[in-house]
Symmetry: D2
Subunit: 269 residues, 4 copies
């Protein structure tokens, strides 16, 4: 039902966007001239930073935002890539629909863990003052997640051992670029504390490290997941291109369809 106002005299509230505007010959975005300041001068990663922070990155920030995005672009045959390929099979006229289908799987189980990691770190450090006690905060966090029987966001991986090589590389870059600050330090403290409490090494994964570095770059946990969405949109186009050249969706359909109903069919036919 529509949210009709009950009074015809309801005052209108303002609607405002400060992202950009255009006229006959000009286009401005976050105060910059699209043609002169951005096209030909900035890369797509810098634009991502601009959308996330309203300003262009410094050279160091540019390295890091691009490295985080590059790390997430392509994951080979994932559930998300399979959803895109299945959708493209049925609706090849609608590339945008196939990409949208793939993005829809980027929820709490996969890249959504960026949000969990960033939230954990940002909330923990919000009231910790200028000289946080990282070990104490880490103990508090690990205790809290264990008590709630929740998975520690940013830890665990089905394949990589003993560490996620993307997380290691990001850490190396953050240090090189002078951005391994308090969020990165807290994440490493959480990692050490988790290993201690669980009595074994937990894999620190790429989304965990991205949660920390995004926090270093002042990206709120509320939209830090957006880094994964931007990156995967790029990668899913590659899967559509390959599906066009070397399709696998029809074969998946036949094989799974056959096998999954075999027993039922034997019972009922």
């Amino acid at each position: 039902m529509s949210k009709n106002s009950t009074s015809p005299t309801r005052p209108q509230k303002p609607m405002e966007s400060r992202i950009g505007w255009s006229n006959e010959h000009d286009i401005r975005i976050y105060g910059l001239n699209l043609m002169q300041d951005l096209m030909g001068k900035q890369d797509l990663g810098a634009m991502a930073f601009l959308e996330l922070t309203s300003r262009l990155p410094t050279p160091s920030e540019s390295v890091l935002v691009n490295a985080m995005l590059v790390a997430l672009v392509e994951h080979g045959i994932t559930p998300s890539a399979l959803a895109t390929r299945m959708t493209y099979y049925g609706a090849p006229e609608s590339l945008q629909g196939a990409v949208a289908a793939g993005l829809l799987g980027l929820g709490n189980v996969f890249v959504g863990t960026i949000e969990g990691s960033a939230k954990m770190l940002q909330e923990s450090l919000a009231d910790a003052g200028d000289t946080p006690d990282f070990a104490a905060l880490a103990t508090e966090l690990v205790n809290k997640f264990r008590a709630a029987k929740q998975i520690l966001p940013g830890f665990g991986h089905p394949i990589h051992r003993p560490d996620d090589p993307r997380a290691l590389r990001l850490l190396e870059l953050a240090r090189e670029q002078g951005h391994a600050g308090k969020y990165v330090q807290l994440l490493l403290a959480v990692s050490a504390e988790a290993d201690r409490q669980f009595g074994k090494h937990l894999v620190l994964n790429v989304t965990g490290m991205i949660g920390a570095i995004a926090s270093e770059l002042d990206i709120s946990w509320r939209y830090a997941r957006g880094l994964g969405i931007m990156a995967r949109a790029v990668g899913l186009i590659g899967h559509i291109r390959e599906e066009l050249e070397r399709p696998i969706a029809p074969e998946i359909w036949v094989r799974v369809g056959d096998e999954a109903v075999q027993k039922l069919r034997a019972d009922e036919e």
Copy 2:
């Protein structure tokens, strides 16, 4: 209904992906090592090029693919941005859903015209040999679209006059980078011929020029639309960020809801 094979002895067809693979300590993408060759060395635009062509761009190609993507990231308050904002209002827990909703509007009316432009140019030049007669091909194309009463893809714009500044800037960059080849030349010939036949200047728009430059970079028209999808995924995150800070969706709902049913309600209440 599932496409069950009729015979239990149906031979399986191969399923193959050549995009990438990973093991415990390594991740390879298009033959490159993700950590050593890509992270910290390539930007997100280069990754887009890699997904579209299976190889990294040259420096000139990098300028152009980034410029095309940068041109499309942000368009202010568009129908697509409004769909994202409306969706985020109802499902703030699902950032990926709000972005997917915005991407779904990138169809034939808006960025889909990249595909139309690239297809027109690529098909026209497919059998044109090494020294195409651009004027003759352009006349043929304009005649064909006029006869079919179809809009010439890549022309027309609601605001920009006399030209789309993004198209002009892309043309400038293509020339600077030595990539204003036969596809760009044909598009300019089409523009001149269209002006002649219609007796007025048609605005050559950004998607038209991107169709040409994507063709120069060997990106097939079948997935050239993907450039727009990649870029807009980046921009839509900015709209979610702003909607979180300065929401307009609730006000749009109330205003449109009130006004649209005013007459009906007066008739029926």
Copy 3:
């Protein structure tokens, strides 16, 4: 870029919806009282008819619209169901995202053919007068599609032989209910003509017959595909329920992921 008006004095155009409205205690839809006229009295198929035609169905129309919808609800393990299951695996918190992913595959290859069938029949009969020559129109249509090397919409099926049992059942119901009018007659004439021209029997499929019966019920081809979308939204919820109880997405991921990159990995590792 936003479609900013060039003049501040641009007159506003009206925005009007005649679907429904509500106030503190009442909700009206297409002129009916939701609580008194619809809830408890009409079924979901009647609501679908109401949304498609602005009026409630007669008893005969109700049988047919429900039969068309029921025919399309469930197809077992389809590409669309697989996209839903893959998406639910990654984002179990967002049921709506998993359904949306499944619907996105309902394009030109699968249920979109309802649109093709309805369009073919509606356009052919638009100027055919009160006593159409079905055989002549059918010959014209088959000739036209063959000349354009296009698939005749509504014909062909990967499994059902010699006919799609759903199409036969719908035809039976249309006849019983007195709705096997000119659109159904033309479709049957097209079927006979196609068999004659191709020298073999083409399977008349369920979407072909739905295109004809939707036309009998005055549903425009422009949104006839909506019947398939409504029905599949119902069925996809069943696949989410089964995925929750008896998941197959993780196993598909592992099997396809392993097999698809086996060769590449052997080459590169």
Copy 4:
């Protein structure tokens, strides 16, 4: 990255679906013959029940499941309908994309509250035995939500006063059909307790009541939200039909686009 098994000898896990199967001349769904048992005999609401419970409804259950679905089909100009209309404007070739965009907004703020209500009731009664103390359970629930500073799921409405007429009508139908059992009783007890604790009447809304009646019909809270998704897919087709006949999306774009950037433009132009 694909979840490649680390061992080539990993045993395959079974993949099984018990929803349905088909062969050349037959289609079975949940053990029923689609053509003979369902088409022409069951309505779309009964199919929804079948997908949610694996069996056909009794006549009383059929009244209730249809009434719940009918209640949710159409809500006039909602954020979800606006997302569909905006998307259809940009991609009119892809009806399924426009519906998907509208469904994506059915998250925690709107119909997702069905899930919250059903979960609250089902979890509260899970261990309450055969003769639950409704008043005590209600007090416990209201206390719990207040302590967590969370909104009580199923309560509150922007327009309807003093009650949501759809909730009242559903309650009436549940009583008439003999299905106002323990879940409905607990919801009414929660309503009374909330009024007492808050010192004012909270509107019991339609999604709250649907959470209770879905529970009566043995529909798990894990997919109860599916009722809203099924219903809204039907309604969104009506909005596409109206947008085709009487478009409002272009006008919304212009008006919002103009107004939202007016201030920014004045500052920067």
